[in-house]
């Protein structure tokens, strides 16, 4: 098991939510104080460095025009982390490839970070959440097709070393692709893709890339991981999917006492409770298939953060597999129960900072996890084990 410290670099110091329509897309940036923001970046970078000192890996992400994640250019922060850290793997999850106009530029940025970090890049590609559509002015229709054309082109740019090649595709046109530098890792940095749909996961499995899913809980995760395994097998990658191909992101807070853990976990719920977004930003046309969209208009439950906003409690979040929180023993047990339920995964992406969880509390949570839970996870959940209950036992 590998554990990754992840912070969305939120800017939580906002007026009461009744004073604004949406925390994303339309929230005026006059509410952002640059000096406070600079101090927050210092703090979040320090927390990532501390996570490295405690033996964790590092993950960051990117969102746009939102107070929930003030990291609109994750490759820049990744470049800083490449120089501030020495050992940790650096996961960007990820580059919003369906919303960026130039995949070759992404290939260049990521190759540069891989060189700067001497081969520590883990490179994620994401389609982007619905709220990213308007900030990117990105057409919400045919995003999957754009995502995959971009992803395949980036991997080709990383792995082509004999001078220029050209690409005249459906969505992207480049007459001269010949990136400098090329990546440090050969043949290329590990690729991660996040998806919360089974059709997406099947496709990721067929490529053999690492599949990450966020807050899909007991209910949604098994089908996603099953789809990945099915895609993997259909593509002829083998009968067995190793644990290290699958990742799950949850809210995690560990403390020595239940009371302290509960208090920290409460603050982490900001991820869900602060996510005030009107429906028209959350469901652009074409983002989901017609049948799913129609069902949603009929009142079918919407998955993810939005569904849990109103009734988010620590107990609910733990019960639903969105959060692991408590004393080290409790967190270990919660994790094991969830891990067994979904068939197993190799990467725990720890959403370990949110909202008003302050520096001392964040550091305490990281340390308590790293020292009192992580060693057991590493020992009892080896990366090379086989994921999925239908898989035969590991050969001796």
């Amino acid at each position: 098991m590998k554990a990754w410290h992840f912070s969305e670099n939120a800017y939580p110091d906002l007026p009461p939510e009744d004073d604004f329509d949406s925390i994303r897309v339309t929230l005026p940036n006059r509410l952002y104080d640059p000096a406070k923001g600079a101090a927050l970046y210092d703090r979040f970078l320090d927390e990532w460095c501390l996570a490295e000192d405690e033996g964790l890996e590092i993950m960051l992400n990117e969102h746009h025009q939102t107070a929930t994640c003030v990291d609109p250019a994750a490759p820049i922060v990744l470049g800083a982390l490449a120089r501030l850290t020495k050992r940790a793997r650096l996961l960007i999850l990820g580059n919003p490839v369906a919303n960026r106009r130039d995949p070759v530029r992404i290939a260049e940025e990521m190759a540069l970070v891989d060189i700067l970090s001497k081969g520590r890049l883990e490179c994620g590609f994401v389609r982007g959440v619905p709220f990213e559509i308007l900030p990117a002015n990105s057409n919400p229709v045919r995003m999957n097709e754009r995502q995959w054309e971009a992803t395949d082109l980036i991997v080709k740019a990383w792995t082509s070393h004999d001078g220029p090649f050209s690409h005249e595709g459906r969505f992207f046109h480049h007459r001269n692709i010949n990136i400098w530098p090329r990546p440090w890792q050969q043949p290329h940095p590990p690729v991660w893709i996040s998806t919360t749909s089974t059709s997406g996961a099947r496709r990721v499995g067929a490529r053999g890339y690492v599949q990450a899913t966020f807050l899909t809980g007991y209910k949604g995760t098994p089908a996603i991981f099953d789809a990945y395994r099915a895609g993997w097998r259909e593509a002829g990658l083998g009968e067995n999917v190793p644990m290290h191909r699958l990742a799950y992101a949850a809210l995690v807070y560990v403390a020595d006492s239940e009371a302290a853990a509960h208090a920290g976990a409460e603050k982490l719920l900001w991820y869900m409770t602060a996510n005030k977004v009107p429906p028209h930003f959350a469901r652009p046309p074409g983002y989901m298939p017609v049948a799913a969209y129609a069902a949603m208009l009929r009142g079918a439950a919407v998955g993810g953060l939005a569904a849990n906003r109103r009734n988010a409690t620590v107990e609910n979040a733990i019960e639903n597999g969105l959060m692991f929180a408590g004393t080290p023993d409790q967190v270990y047990d919660q994790f094991k129960r969830f891990h067994d339920h979904v068939g197993g995964f190799g990467h725990l992406l720890i959403m370990g900072q949110a909202g008003f969880l302050d520096h001392a509390e964040t550091v305490a949570g990281i340390k308590c996890f790293a020292r009192n839970v992580y060693p057991r996870l590493k020992q009892n959940f080896p990366m090379t084990a086989i994921s999925g209950s239908r898989a035969p036992p590991v050969p001796a």
């Binding site: 308007l134 057409n139 229709v141 009107p278 429906p279 028209h280 046309p285 074409g286 017609v290 208009l297």
Partner: protein
């Protein structure tokens, strides 16, 4: 109108690999009706009124209704080519055309490509050109507002015309969702217009009538005035007690004005 005509099922043709549905109603000189972004479902009363005097050909654009949508198609320009071929296939050398909103944009594109095929054009709340300033959308961002706000912009009487999802069949609901998706596909960027179109409209020298509902919150009176100036020969008529869809809120009156213009 005559129930036999109203109930007649759509015809189908394959054009450029696209399975296209179209209505063919009434008798007389041919009239092509091009529906707006919401699809054709609410336009039947209007179409039937036109069909009282004319043969009305009314296709569902690719990606709307049950018309197919190939991977390669992603623009209004593509659709204009498809509908010109539809005229070829139906052996209609010259037609009058009525275009509503998105359909008006398609009609305008057709008129710049083959002006000789369109004898007169009636454009109802047409979109498709950029006539205003750089720092303001000519057409409000319908993809960035609530349903309630959008209804207020679309209708003179939103209470009467708001979509009742609970009462819709699964098929009708899926069509509504798909229509909206196709509208986003073809009109997302540049938003609701083709920057080149205004520089081509001088070719559309046929008589043109632009109609606008008096309560239209989607296309402003200024927008329509500036749009009309791009044609060599265009007039403007305002329809009272109608929003962006006068063919829905005032179907008979709108049809009668158009039939008179075409007469």
């Amino acid at each position: 109108m005559n129930e036999a005509v109203r109930g007649s099922s759509p015809h189908r043709l394959t054009i450029a690999g696209i399975d296209l549905e179209y209505l063919d109603r009434g008798r007389g000189a041919p009239l092509l009706y091009l529906h707006g972004g919401a699809g054709i479902a609410a336009d039947h009363a209007f179409i039937d009124r036109l069909a009282g005097q004319r043969r009305v050909i009314a296709p569902s654009h690719p990606g709307f209704g049950t018309s197919g949508l190939p991977d390669w198609l992603d623009s209004v320009d593509d659709i204009a080519h498809v509908h010109l071929e539809l005229l070829d296939r139906l052996k209609l050398d010259v037609v009058d055309v009525v275009g509503m909103s998105l359909g008006g944009w398609i009609a305008a594109e057709m008129a710049t490509k083959a002006p000789e095929r369109l004898s007169r054009m009636a454009l109802i709340g047409p979109i498709g050109v950029k006539t205003g300033t750089v720092d303001r959308l000519d057409i409000p961002d319908i993809f960035a507002m609530s349903e309630a706000n959008l209804d207020r912009l679309r209708f003179h009487d939103p209470g009467k015309h708001r979509a009742d999802i609970g009462a819709m069949s699964d098929e009708a609901l899926a069509t509504m969702v798909r229509n909206h998706e196709t509208l986003a596909l073809i009109a997302w960027e540049p938003y609701m217009h083709n920057p080149k179109l205004r520089h081509r409209l001088h070719r559309a020298a046929m008589p043109v009538l632009l109609l606008r509902g008096d309560s239209d919150g989607i296309v402003s009176a200024d927008y329509i005035a500036r749009y009309a100036k791009l044609f060599p020969d265009a007039g403007i008529t305002t329809i009272a007690a109608a929003g962006h869809g006068p063919q829905v809120e005032q179907p008979d009156r709108t049809a009668d004005i158009i039939l008179e213009f075409f007469a």
